[in-house]
């Protein structure tokens, strides 16, 4: 909960895709760096693009960016670990992010999170060992009119009830839907 996915380095972050796919992704990053004329202040934008291409930030990707922008690797790693958006562990098949901003919290976000954690067997800020679910909490998403809300696989769902959460997560786990 207090830890974020971004601060834990998973050993699995090493090898994922085949070399061919990787080359195409590196090309995307190169294009983006070129678009910014290799300006060092474009680092965050490049990291955004890298994460979109790879789904996570791997060590070799960060080193590639460091070389491209002529920045020390420490700077690239420092920036990538500072911002909560960037992640170093692969995301699970399904993701659920519960908002714990003030408005959602007073409307019972804690209880919703507990339900999600119980149903998936995972913990907030982590991906379950079988790689099926990524759970996270977020600070305010700026949609407090919808409180309490959660993001299920990228879909923002507001005015959540405990039953609704159980139904949605139950649909993923395969039991609870019938």
């Amino acid at each position: 909960m207090f830890r974020t996915a971004g601060t834990t380095r998973s050993p699995r972050a090493g090898a994922v895709a085949s070399p061919g796919e990787d080359a195409a992704r590196f090309e995307v990053i190169d294009l983006e760096m070129k678009r910014h004329r290799f300006r060092q202040d474009a680092l965050i934008e490049v990291l955004h693009v890298a994460q979109e291409a790879f789904g996570l930030l791997r060590d070799d990707v960060l080193l590639h960016i460091a070389r491209g922008l002529e920045l020390p690797p420490s700077r690239v790693f420092g920036v990538a670990t500072f911002y909560h958006l960037f992640t170093f562990a692969p995301r699970g098949e399904h993701s659920c992010t519960v908002c714990t901003g003030t408005a959602c919290f007073v409307k019972g976000a804690e209880r919703l999170l507990a339900i999600v954690e119980e149903l998936t067997g995972g913990r907030a800020g982590e991906t379950t060992p079988d790689g099926r679910f990524s759970l996270a909490t977020t600070r305010c998403t700026g949609s407090c009119g919808l409180a309490p809300l959660a993001i299920f696989d990228g879909e923002v769902v507001g005015h959540l009830s405990e039953e609704e959460v159980a139904r949605r997560v139950g649909g993923w786990t395969g039991h609870g839907s019938e």
Binding site: F2, A42, L85, R139, G142, C144
Partner: protein, 471 residues
């Protein structure tokens, strides 16, 4: 109060309000034309100064004054538009971006002309994906129509707006943190002075303004400073977007003149407190501004009055209502967790202090709380932030303020919470006990036995040197 005609939100209800055509049809870009063709930059700065427009981002600093801090002989100026709206429960800037992007652009054009900035950066939260998309489309439209680019309105003034996405850090809402982030670094606030007006983005003079502030500028140009000052309360002029969330029936964003009370917001706009309950407390403008007790709901929410209640300020005018069934301790716990997570880690008092708050709250919630915890937290809260001068930016003040407020306004409730949640098996560890007693951790002997006597009651004499130094 006479019926208030919406200013900033006037286009919200119009269909397709994001398009240039609709905005132009409703008188859009006329103010920019007037400013660029008939006024000089200095006249514009003077006009905004006269209108006494105050920054809507939180601190309430007069905008015209900020602009006049720019050095006279500058070669290049940057404008940064702060759309990193991260304060929990705030969403008014998102509405302005998503529903009326051209008003935003017009505000940027006029403000950049006034400050002679030819590059503007719009720093958006990455969470605001829709808003970023709407803005990018609107900027492209405006450029195609000649409102951006070279020689706008034939005045010889050039302007480009770039949208920059953040990556999820609360601290980037602080102006120098935002600038650092814009330069592709960690969002660590800079030591001031030099202020951004002298040395900001890329070491050049920079103005950082909130979205809502800049949205007010076209209306001031169009209707004049006197009109602007006819809205609101003394020293807090103009319209303001209030957001109401939490335990109310309708969680909405409404535009009202500055100076409405929390009770008016709850009763007239939010449909009352939910489930027929009563409000116990309210957050006046984002949690870092502190807490209002139930007796203070009639205090006007403007830049001046709200400070008399002990709150830090108006903040972002994001009102969160807390009903009488929610323990204040739980609210504080969530707040502390937020700030402990979001502290950037640059200044020790903030990095350690916010985490200390969080750990203490966690222990209290788990049943290991002691009444002295409140004293320790209060003392900690007093020594944290810009106000006592121990940190670079105001994040630590924001973290400490709700605790300071809660200690003065809700102390009996907090004490009752600790007492009723205490569990015998969740006693503090020997180390914690030693710290309570003022034993220096370096002198602490790990073989010290677990304390066996019961936790002292509320009347226990305070001999804790950490709490009352020098006694």
């Amino acid at each position: 109060m006479a019926a208030f005609e919406p200013v900033l939100t006037r286009n919200f209800a119009v269909e397709n309000s994001q398009s240039l055509k609709v905005y132009e049809g409703r008188g859009g870009y006329q103010a920019a034309k007037k400013a660029l063709t008939t006024m000089s930059p200095d006249e514009l700065v003077q006009l905004v100064k006269d209108s006494e427009l105050r920054g809507r981002g939180g601190a309430g600093f007069p905008t015209g004054l900020k602009w006049s801090f720019l050095p006279k002989d500058r070669a290049e100026t940057f404008m940064c538009v702060n759309g990193d709206e991260s304060e929990p429960a705030t969403f008014n800037n998102r509405y302005l971006l998503e529903r009326d992007p051209h008003q935003m652009i017009e505000g940027i054009i006029i403000s950049c002309f006034a400050t002679r900035a030819s590059t503007a950066y719009l720093y958006n939260r990455f969470e605001y994906i829709a808003a970023t998309r709407v803005m990018e489309r609107a900027i492209a439209e405006a450029r195609a129509a000649g409102y951006l680019g070279k020689n706008i309105f034939g005045s010889g003034f050039d302007l480009e707006i770039y949208v920059h996405r953040g990556a999820g850090a609360y601290i980037c809402g602080e102006e120098t943190g935002l600038i650092e982030s814009l330069e592709g670094k960690r969002g660590w606030p800079r030591i001031k002075p030099p202020f951004p007006a002298v040395e900001g983005a890329f070491r050049k003079p920079t103005v950082v303004n909130n979205i809502e502030t800049l949205c007010c500028v076209p209306h001031i140009v169009e209707r004049g400073a006197d009109w602007f000052k006819s809205i609101g309360t003394p020293k807090s002029y103009g319209p303001k977007l209030y957001t109401i969330s939490g335990h109310v029936n309708k969680q909405v964003c409404v535009e009202l003149p500055l100076g409405v009370t929390t009770r008016q917001l709850i009763e007239e706009h939010a449909g009352g407190v939910w489930k027929g309950r009563k409000a116990k407390a309210a957050v006046p403008g984002g949690i870092s501004m502190g807490l209002l007790s139930a007796d203070e709901l009639d205090v006007p929410l403007d830049f001046e009055e709200i400070r008399k209640t002990g709150c830090l300020g108006l903040g972002t005018a994001a009102v969160t209502v807390i009903d009488d069934q929610t323990p204040i301790m739980d609210v504080l716990y969530n707040t502390c967790r937020f700030f402990a997570h979001e502290s950037c880690g640059q200044c020790t008092p903030c990095r350690e202090g916010t985490t200390w708050f969080y750990k203490t709250m966690k222990r209290i919630k788990a049943g290991g709380g002691r009444l002295e915890d409140l004293d320790v937290m209060e003392q900690l809260a007093k020594n944290l932030g810009i106000t006592p001068g121990t940190t670079i930016c105001g994040l630590a003040d924001g973290a400490a303020w709700p605790i300071k407020n809660a200690m003065t306004k809700f102390r009996p409730e907090l004490e009752e919470y600790i007492r009723s949640h205490q569990q015998a098996d969740k006693k503090p560890t020997a180390l914690q006990e030693a710290i309570f007693r003022g034993v220096s951790p370096s002198l602490f002997d790990s073989s010290l036995p677990e304390p066996s006597e019961p936790l002292p009651g509320p009347t226990a004499p305070g001999h804790n040197p950490r709490v009352s130094p020098g006694t």
